[in-house]
Amino acid sequence: MLKLDEIQKRLLAEVADLHAVPEGAYNIRSNSHAAGRQSTANIEITPKSDVPGIDIRIKPGTKNESVHIPVVLTESGLKEVVYNDFYIGEGADVVIVAGCGIDNCGNQDSQHDGVHRFFVGKNARIRYVEKHYGSGSGSGKRILNPGTEVYQDEGSIVEMEMVQIKGVDDTERTTSAELAAGAKLIVRERLMTHDDQRAISTYVVSLNGEGSSADVVSRSVAKDKSFQKFDAKIVGNAPCHGHTECDSIIMDGGRILAVPGLEANDLDAELVHEAAIGKIAGEQLVKLMTLGLTEQQAEEQIINGFLK
């Protein structure tokens, strides 16, 4: 890839599984500059003129195409706010891979705040994958604050997979979604925090149309002295189905606060919240140890499986 050094390439591999220039449309942002951009016949990527960021327009009916929009930061002290808007045409079916990797070797904080808005047309379907990753030995923090707004037209389906496993010191994620009739939102969040990290994830999902549904599931592990807050609210404004689930493991001095929020404003709104927080079950460790693993290896297997 053009203009990328080894660290930047490594970050790209971590957050977007990219080892070469991706197929299809892409926009690679590196240290606040476009390191590469490509549109296709059906997917047009244009830079915004007023604020940093891009507009991604996907033509109606576009199928089996993907868009990669990874961001990498390797300069210590860099702070940026980026606005990306996705317009997904009626009946399109695409995969969008975002992701942000920060390598901070310096002593100044590096921060990327990505504001993503999705306007999902009728009966369109997207799978959105977002990975966060941090590395670097500097004392400067690696901070990521993603803000995501999703507007789903009738019958659309949005699947979001958010993963943050390592190296991000501070995250405040806010996700809001508004769903019209028959629209469906599926969120799978996997989060691990360690050391002094802090991660806050807030969802507000409004089920506005008849037959809309949301399923928001978070699996997380808080190690060392890290702190997590999972605040998921589903508002049922019509006959709808909503489900949120927070399943967490705490280790060492890790702390987790799960805040269930359900608001039913329609008699036929069916909303469910589940939350479970606890340490690794002792019997799971014992079982794996009887298979020959050390306690530490057993712990790793259990966490890996849990976050898989």
């Binding site: 399943d247 079982k287 298979l291």
Partner: protein
């Protein structure tokens, strides 16, 4: 060979000392199948846990293949060749059958190797290999996977705690076949099975009866089994499943 020398396990219950295993002496010779029976609450599972290192004996010694392993932890004992199928299999989140078989065998398993262990317990590898070991599996399925995991260990001492419990569809004939194959297997090794089932007692080389934490009786099957017939220590069960022949879960 496993030797338990004057092994005891005491716990404090409500400030009072309770002796759960009392001065047990037991030798399990190489390549022998020992079936341990006796009333519920007698201490059979506790004895198995003491051998595997899950519970630590409060006095006495455990000698395995000539080495004193009394002070060794669970992992160390596993590495020296002790495998243990739990009475109540443990459930996980996200860990798949194939992961557990891989960990148990200590190597990367290919599909046909994994398949071998699963089909030995009557499970179709195709359907089960990628299943998560969680509550979506029935008690019987979990139990079979637990047994398959111990088979995958290829250990020199394999302990099965009530392997037949919860296995309703799968006939005893198949389960017994698994144990007999293990005994005939080229690798050798000893097997301890905790069971009340007459059909399992029947394949034992030796039977050990444990009651109130003590060995009540031990000896060759032909001597001990006749004394147990008709008691709760030798239950005749699952005739129906047996008559229907083994049914694999596919």
């Amino acid at each position: 060979m496993l030797e338990l020398l004057n092994l005891s396990f005491r716990v404090a219950v409500d400030g009072k000392e309770k002796e759960i295993i009392k001065n047990v002496d037991l030798t399990v010779p190489d390549d022998k199948l020992i079936v341990v029976t006796g009333p519920n609450g007698g201490g059979k599972s506790t004895l198995a846990k003491l051998i595997a290192g899950i519970e630590r004996s409060t006095s006495g010694r455990i000698i395995f293949k000539g080495e004193d392993i009394t002070e060794l932890g669970i992992t160390e004992r596993a590495k020296r060749g002790i495998a243990f199928a739990f009475q109540q299999p443990v459930k996980f989140k996200g860990i798949q059958v194939v992961d557990l078989l891989r960990i148990a065998s200590g190597k990367e398993l290919n599909a046909s190797e994994a398949c071998e262990f699963l089909s030995a317990v009557g499970l179709c590898a195709r359907d089960y290999i990628g299943r998560e070991i969680n509550a979506s599996l029935s008690g019987g399925e979990l139990k079979r996977i637990e047994i398959a995991t111990v088979l995958a260990r290829g250990a020199s001492l394999s302990i099965f705690d009530e392997p037949e419990a919860g296995i309703d569809l799968w006939s005893f004939r198949n389960l017994i076949e698994v144990f007999e194959q293990m005994r005939r297997g080229s690798k050798g090794g000893s097997i301890i099975i905790i069971s009340h089932q007459e059909r399992i007692l029947n394949i034992a080389d030796e039977i050990v009866v444990i009651k109130n934490g003590e060995i009540l009786r031990r000896g060759p099957k032909d001597e001990v089994l006749p004394t147990l017939i008709g008691t709760s220590s030798a239950v005749v069960g699952c005739r129906k499943a047996d008559a229907e022949g083994g049914e694999a879960i596919c």
